[in-house]
């Protein structure tokens, strides 16, 4: 009998469909505490669907998801976030009409205490947010909004941080900055599940990875193995 409690997150034989179209099938995946696990693959390969499925936005048609030993396959989004899984969404998911500070506060919705301490920590780590804390978030640049989205995720004091395409739409220098931040999060003890099209950068900072193609996982392993895999190298890492 497998021990589920050694993994933070365990996905077993998961399938998710949109109506009649099967988006992802037979997904088996695990995330251990303190790791960065990356999902790489082309646009539409299913990475985003899996992330949304874990968060509870998409209902699975088959399989199971367990978090900290508890089955969360049918748990509602609000309970899943309350239990410690947060998402930095594709496109940042910032509320434009609210201020930087209000956006951060939303991240702490499920917390009862320690909110001010967390906000201070986020401001320490990302001084640009402190500078603009009373500005409407819509006035921030793309890179700053990405930082705000990450800061907001940290406000939840999360157990597992999921990120969906954090580098999308950012200039190369900002992409570098974002990945540095993600690597830094691991150093401070966070666990990260990262869905990324930028396979090169993602495999550089990740411990392990899963390669998605047409809704299935076709390869998995330590990122070093993926980097040196010929097929992956040609298809996703620019040869």
């Amino acid at each position: 009998m497998e021990k589920n409690n050694s993994f933070l997150l365990r996905v077993k034989d998961l399938s998710i469909s949109y109506g009649n179209i099967i988006a992802i099938r037979e997904i088996n995946l695990k995330v251990e505490k303190g790791e960065i696990v990356t999902l790489i693959g082309a646009n539409g390969a299913g990475k985003s669907t899996l992330v949304k499925g874990i968060l509870g936005i998409q209902r699975p048609s088959r399989g199971s998801i367990s978090f900290l030993g508890q089955d969360i396959t049918w748990t509602t989004v609000d309970r899943i976030v309350a239990s410690g899984i947060v998402l930095v969404p594709e496109g940042r998911g910032i509320v434009m009409e609210m201020t930087v500070m209000e956006n951060l506060e939303l991240g702490a919705y499920h917390r009862r205490e320690g909110v001010l301490v967390s906000m201070e920590q986020v401001f320490e780590q990302f001084p640009i947010l402190r500078e603009r804390k009373h500005q409407k978030a819509g006035l921030l640049s793309g890179g700053q909004q990405q930082i705000l989205a990450i800061g907001r995720a940290l406000m939840a004091d999360p157990v597992l941080i999921m990120m969906d395409e954090p580098s999308l739409g950012l200039a190369p220098i900002l992409v570098h900055q974002v990945f540095e931040i993600i690597a830094g999060l691991k150093k401070s003890g966070h666990t990260i599940l990262l869905a990324e099209q930028n396979a090169r950068k993602a495999t550089q900072i990740a411990d392990r990875g899963y390669v998605f193609e047409k809704g299935r996982i076709i390869l998995e392993g330590p990122s070093q193995d993926l980097i040196h895999n010929e097929m992956v190298s040609k298809a996703y890492l620019g040869g």
């Binding site: 936005i57 939303l106 919705y109």
Partner: protein
Amino acid sequence: MEALIAYLEAGLVSGSIYSLIAIGMNLLLVVSDVILFAYGEIVVISMYLCWLILKLSGNYLLAFFGALGSSVILTLLVEPLLRGLREKRLVVETLVMTIAVGMILTEIMAHFLNAGLPIAFPPSVVGGGGEASFGLIKIAAADVYVILATLALLVSLYYFLFKTKQGKALRAISYNIQVARLLGIPLQKATSISFIIAGLMSGVTAALFIVTIGVASPELGAHVTFKGMAVMLLGGMGSLKGGVVGGYILGIIECLVRGYFIGDWADAIAMGCIMIIIILRPGGIIGGAR
């Protein structure tokens, strides 16, 4: 000149009430995606309830709380009715359902309450129990109650929406419901809260109608809903600020027309003004040119 001030004062009073109605309806729209066509009917049936309790018990406090019972009616009756349709994003069907609820409430008033006759509140209640005169300008105690109550509600609502966690969550939902969902904000809870707030506001509105107009009839319900919709359009659908601005504009226009024109032109001219403004600024006064 004195007459003008008198009309403006009356306009402020009815404008306050219109604002409260529009805000209640707008809140339901932006948080729960519902245009509640039964809102006015719920205000009026609360007036009927209040009248009934006063008649049966003579207890003013009890009757007042009876009026506030609107929030109970709204949340327990209407919200679950609409839930299924809302979840499936059936906008037109939701609208029709709220119209149906309004009609049912009107029919209940027309057949089962006071045999469909208009109700009138005792003079001890209407007018608020006193008035002051400054020449042509008469200010009833009730007028002061209306202004104070409206101010108190607006300030409380502002505090709730901008200074509390739950209020900020409601605002987040009004701006971007998808993001709010991803953040794990419980949407059903927010909907329930918006219905409760709308209910409380409709209850206070009923009480304010009682002390100012003092009478009600089954037809009044639909009329109030209609005015509420007009203010929503005028100020901008879903805009709370617009509800306040639009409410006062409508109130003042109506009173000015009633004062200076002979005949029952108030409604027609007020609606005409609203039509013109919407043609020029389809998004409403606050909403803008869209």
